[in-house]
Chain length 437, copies 2
């Protein structure tokens, strides 16, 4: 059979790539899935790892395990370094070449700093598991450092957090840091009072969560304020340093800058001739998600930039990524059968964002909710979507327990052997007054 | 009150240090607990983190959290760099000096290579959380690498594991790697067959688990053999390289060398004048656990070397460490009341070691068990001892689930941004035959 030899290469095992592979489960194709990580990551809960709410393995499942029963797929842990759609080939990091009949590029986006690459070393991103565990280490170390110093200015900077970006990730992270400082860590220190932590949420636009209604944005702002977060609107970030941020006309002294503002497309696409990239590096695709001129090369997920058939700009959210991955896989099946491809239309299943304990906003099929009902919906939906039975039950149990005790079990600092600890302690503590009796 | 001003410094928040601090809960003293990590680690289950059975936060609890309600203790996340018992002071890494009235050194031991420091870079130790997550990364990456290469010799080395040391940690780790390869990963790869993994357990002495009876040692050897582990007795390690081990007369080609053979005392003690160290760096203490000549300076836990009042050489196990910490704290209370100190006597509560699923050996109060009853006892005791309710229930749930499904949820590779990934991929894979159709 000619069909059985067709080779589909999928780059990236996120929501788009994984849903593409799974859509091809019974198809007469050979699939090679390439990902530089060995796991699929449930990104919507990454902020929980960064704020010590969940252990990393709760939100990650090995790709091989998810796909172990799908015999037409081979998973390769490697990184694609170049794509040549003219010769139908992809080169991996160690020189290996994959030739394909059909390609799906689902490499997603990474933290982007609007071209200010020097900001990266001061402002921690929140797009990968490694970024999240690094951020957890930095947050927890800030309190440890503050506990040991007496210099008031340094102390104030260490207990000041700036979250840049008022989208769902920024809102969720600011809320989680507020809860961490106000409740979880409240009694754990002797010299500092973590409840005095300043948390700033900085947003360039006129309101938080612009994908929601204005009243929901306002509700979110009020809730966050009540939780102890100072919200700054119309405050685009102009400068980021080791110990400060300039946003709008405001200068905030802070040793803890969390970046939830921008993303950029995988740089691999810059090397592909003849395609158009947005300023953020996302790829402008044809209505059927193919690369212009290459009907066998699809881009799916956050990396694809598209205004769909209904005139909707497809958002960078997990459901859209899954839909695009499925769509691309289906078009491959159609083209194998020599049928014409169809354009992709985004099916908006609604939006939800959590603000904190018992507090969220949702907008589903035109129905808007907020408060604890919205939070319960958010919880339920996220549990249902989490992959793998253990993860669901583990996370569920963990959340029930955390809800009643305000404890967070993942509050450990790891990776101190790396350069990070030195980096986080740039100024040695001077020989202080002796503490003996 | 003169008493209320006495300052007790405890170095190390492991079993010994933590039990010392907790024993002083209601005592009229000020306590400073110093640890370079922010967490207490349940070391007996560290091998489970290394073999992807448990997520790291399951077996670690923040020290501040454990002690948040004990108001007479201040926890400092820092490292002691020198101890001067003559001036009753300890210097921390950033120059800060702590003066004490009473000192408990409970710094434990770290992985030791019998003086062969160059072995360290090839043979991964298993004493800290960072070592365990590094080992997990190496084990999982070995399979990922084997999946992508075609060179038979390299392939064989990657699927060969050598565990050095036939004590409980070595036995448990070898058993866990066997289960990982034979069951957990069995169906996850396409080109390699993880069930063909060679696992070698190498022990210098004539039997495994020398603290148990000979018949239990023999049972352990047979069980491990049945599980797919090749046990080499009377095979002291003479050489460790990047891809091989020489043990006795045997040379084993392996890219995965796990070191569970030796420990050595914290090097800080080398700088203390007038004390005697064992060859391994453990400190020879007086019968009451004090340093010779310094009745206000105690050493407790694995770092202390002592033959107790009954002539028993106190073993390096968690119960002994807890007992010693408690004993030292009580002697401090006695000396505050101007009473003489008492010598420490080890109370042997028994030994247990798990071999694998449904298989363990125990020896409690002269009663020896093995098989699944021993395993159930091991499971129960470890759950009871694990600190923190969430951890207990989380681990319990996880184990029940793992038992029935043979799954391991913590099978994720993190920290690839570090140097490790490059280190683990020293040989680039040559441009292979094209895999396209």
């Amino acid at each position: 059979m000619a069909e059985s030899s067709q080779h589909v290469v999928v780059l990236g095992g996120g929501f788009a790539g994984l849903s593409a592979v799974q859509t091809l489960k019974s198809a007469p194709v050979r699939i090679t899935l390439v990902d530089r990580q060995n796991h699929h990551l449930f990104q919507p809960l990454l902020y929980q790892v960064a704020t010590a709410g969940l252990a990393a393995p709760y939100i990650a499942q090995p790709l091989r395990h998810i796909l172990s029963k799908q015999s037409n797929v081979t998973t390769v842990m490697d990184e694609a370094v170049s794509i040549d759609p003219a010769s139908n080939s992809v080169t991996l990091s160690r020189g290996r070449i994959l030739e394909y009949d059909h390609l799906i590029v689902a490499l997603g986006v990474k933290t982007g700093y609007f071209g200010n690459t020097e900001w990266e070393k001061y402002a921690s991103g929140l797009k990968s598991l490694d970024e999240a565990t690094r951020l957890r280490r930095r947050i927890l170390l800030a309190y440890e450092r503050a506990e040991t110093i007496r210099d008031t200015a340094k102390w104030a900077r260490l207990l000041s957090f700036v979250v840049v970006g008022g989208g769902p990730t920024g809102v969720e992270t600011a809320g989680a840091v507020a809860e961490l400082s106000r409740r979880v860590l409240a009694n754990d220190f002797r010299r500092i009072d973590p409840t005095l932590t300043h948390i700033h949420l900085v947003e360039a636009g006129p309101r938080l969560l612009p994908m929601f209604s204005e009243s929901q944005s306002e509700y979110t702002r009020k809730r966050l304020t009540k939780m102890g977060v100072t919200v700054h609107l119309n405050a685009p970030v102009k400068e980021v340093g080791a110990n400060h941020v300039v946003a709008g006309d405001l200068r905030i002294e802070s040793a803890n800058i969390i970046w939830a503002a921008g993303v950029e497309g995988n740089p691999i696409m810059k090397g592909v001739p003849g395609i158009s990239l947005e300023r953020s590096g996302r790829v402008e695709v044809e209505p059927d998600l193919t690369l212009p001129g290459f009907p066998n090369a699809f881009v799916a997920g956050d990396l694809a930039s598209l205004v769909d058939t209904k005139g909707v700009k497809v958002p960078c959210v997990a459901p859209a990524a899954s839909q695009m991955g499925r769509h691309a896989a289906r078009q491959i099946l159609r083209s194998i059968k020599s049928k014409e491809t169809k354009p992709y239309t985004y099916l908006d299943k609604g939006s939800m964002a959590t603000i904190g304990r018992s507090s969220a906003v949702t907008s589903v099929a035109g129905i808007r909710t907020r408060g604890w009902i919205a939070w319960a919906m958010w919880l339920l939906i996220h549990l249902l979507f989490l992959m793998g039975f253990r993860n669901k039950m583990g996370v569920f149990w963990h959340w029930v327990w955390s809800y009643f005790t305000w404890n967070r079990g993942a509050r450990i600092i790891t990776g101190l052997d790396s350069e990070e600890f030195t980096l986080d302690n740039p100024e040695p503590i001077p020989r202080t007054q002796r503490t003996g009796s």
